[in-house]
Amino acid sequence: MKSKADIVIIGGGIIGCAVAFNLAKKGMRNIVVLEKGFLASGATGRCGAGVRQQWGTLQNCLLAKESMTILENISDYLEEKVDIELKQRGYLLLSFSEKETEQFSKNLQVQHSLNIPSRALTAEEAGEIVPILNTEKVHSAAFCPTDGHANPFLTTEAYAKAAEKRGVEICTFTQAKAIKTENGKVKGVQTDKGYIETGRILNAAGGWAYEIGEMVGLKLPVFSERHEILVTEKVPPMLDPMVMSFSYNIYCQQTPNGSFVMGHGPKNEKPGHNVNSTWQFLEAMAQKVTYLLPDIKKVRVVRQWAGSYNISPDRQPIICESEQLPGYYMAIGFSGHGFMLGPSIGVYLSELITGETPSYDVTLDLGRFARNESIAEPSVV
C-alpha cells in the first residue's frame, strides 16, 4: 500500500470506484481506494440493481439519464470490453390513485424536457406490457422503455479494473480506522494495514458514511436504514420490465437468468447497521407481490438479505467538500439510489475535486439544508 496519496477514497462501492476511475482518467496519480471487505460488498452489491430515468425533479432525471448513457456505452467509456449485464427492458411505474396519476404527468413533463422517452399508459396498456399484472386497482401507469438494470457487482468491478489500469491502488480488506487532521486540514488516513499521508479524502462509505464523518468530528445528517430484498429461483420469462409502485412501496424485476428480485421500503425501521433478514419482510412482500402479479405465487423464494440505505434529510445524495474541513469530500446519503446515480456522480465529483466546472448544473451540497433548499423528489421507494 502506498504511504502517500493525492486522495484516499473510503469505500469500494460503485461511487468510490467510479470517482477513482474518473479522477485517474483526468490524470490524477496516487489514488487509493480503501474497502473493508471486497468490492461492492456493501450497499452496491446488495441493491435491486435498477436504473430508472423516471424521476420527478429535473436534476435527478438528468443524473439518471447521464448514468444510463454511460452504462449503455460502458465499454467505450472505460476503454475496455466489459459485460455488465445491462438489460433495458423498461420500468413500469404503477399509479393507484388520481393523485398519483397527476404526479406522474408532472414527472413526465420534466422527463420529456430532457428527451427521456417515457410515456403515460392506461391500466389496460400497462396490462399489455405486463400480462401477468393484476390491473384491478391500477389507475394508470408510466413507462420508459430505456430504463433497465445492470449487474452491480460486475459494474463496480469494471470501474475498478479500468481505474487500476490507470494507476489507482485498490486495497480490499483494508479498513480506514482514523483520519488525521491538522490545523483544520486533512493530513492522512490510518488504516488497519498502515498509514497513508494525504491532503484529500472522499467519504464514499455508503452505510458507514456517518462513522467516517465522526472520524473528523463532523455530524453528517445521514443515517443508515435496513432495506430488505429477496430473490427467487429461476423460472421461464414472465415479466419484462421492472414493475414499481410508490404507493405499494415495492419494486420487482425478473433478471436475465430468470430469477425475480424484489424489495420494499420498510415501515417503522429503526436507524442502524442491522442488516439481518426478517420473516416479516417475506410475509409483507409475498402478500403484495401475489396481489400485483398473481401468477408469481408458485415461484420459490430462495434467498433473502438486507442492505443499508444511507438516508439524508431529503432522501437525495450529498455531494460536496466539507466547508469546515477542506480536503474532506463526501458522496453520501444516496438513500437507495447510489447504484443508478453512480456513473454520473463519478463524473460530477471528479470535477468538483479537480476544481473544474461541473458538467451538470445540480445542487447537491450539504449547505442546501441550512439554506432551506432541500430537494423535493416526489418519486422514491
Binding site: 429461483e233 429461476k234 421461464p236 420469462p237 436475465p256 437468468n257 408458485k298
Partner: protein, 100 residues
C-alpha cells in the same frame, strides 16, 4: 428395475399408479418418489444443463443438489427426488434454453 427379492429387506409397495414423463406413461407405486419411479423405468438422463447443455440426471436423491428439477403439474423447479409420484401427474423435463 425393481428389486423383487432381497436377503435382508422386504419392500412394501403401495398401490400401482401411473403418471406421464414427457408424454410417456410411467408406472409407479404409491409412496415412491418421481425419481425412484423414473429410475425403475430405466430413465437416467433428465435434461441438459442450463448453460453448457450437458446431460444431467439424478445425483443426490435427497433434495440438496439441483440435478433433478422438473416441471411437475405446471410447477417449475420441482425436486423430483423428494416429491412423491401421484396418479395422473404430468412431469416434464426442463430445458431452459429459452432463458438467457
Amino acid at each position: 428395475m425393481r428389486i423383487r427379492e432381497h436377503p435382508i429387506l422386504e419392500f412394501e409397495r403401495g398401490k400401482k399408479i401411473q403418471f406421464t414423463f414427457n408424454g410417456n406413461k410411467i408406472e409407479a407405486y404409491e409412496g415412491e418418489t418421481i425419481a425412484a419411479a423414473l429410475h425403475a423405468a430405466g430413465i437416467w438422463h433428465y435434461n441438459e444443463s442450463d448453460v453448457l447443455k450437458r446431460p444431467r440426471g439424478l445425483f443426490c436423491a435427497i433434495g440438496h443438489c439441483s440435478s433433478c428439477l422438473m416441471t411437475v403439474d405446471g410447477v417449475p423447479n420441482t425436486r423430483i427426488c423428494v416429491t412423491d409420484a401421484v396418479e395422473g401427474m404430468v412431469v416434464k423435463s426442463e430445458n431452459r434454453g429459452d432463458i438467457k
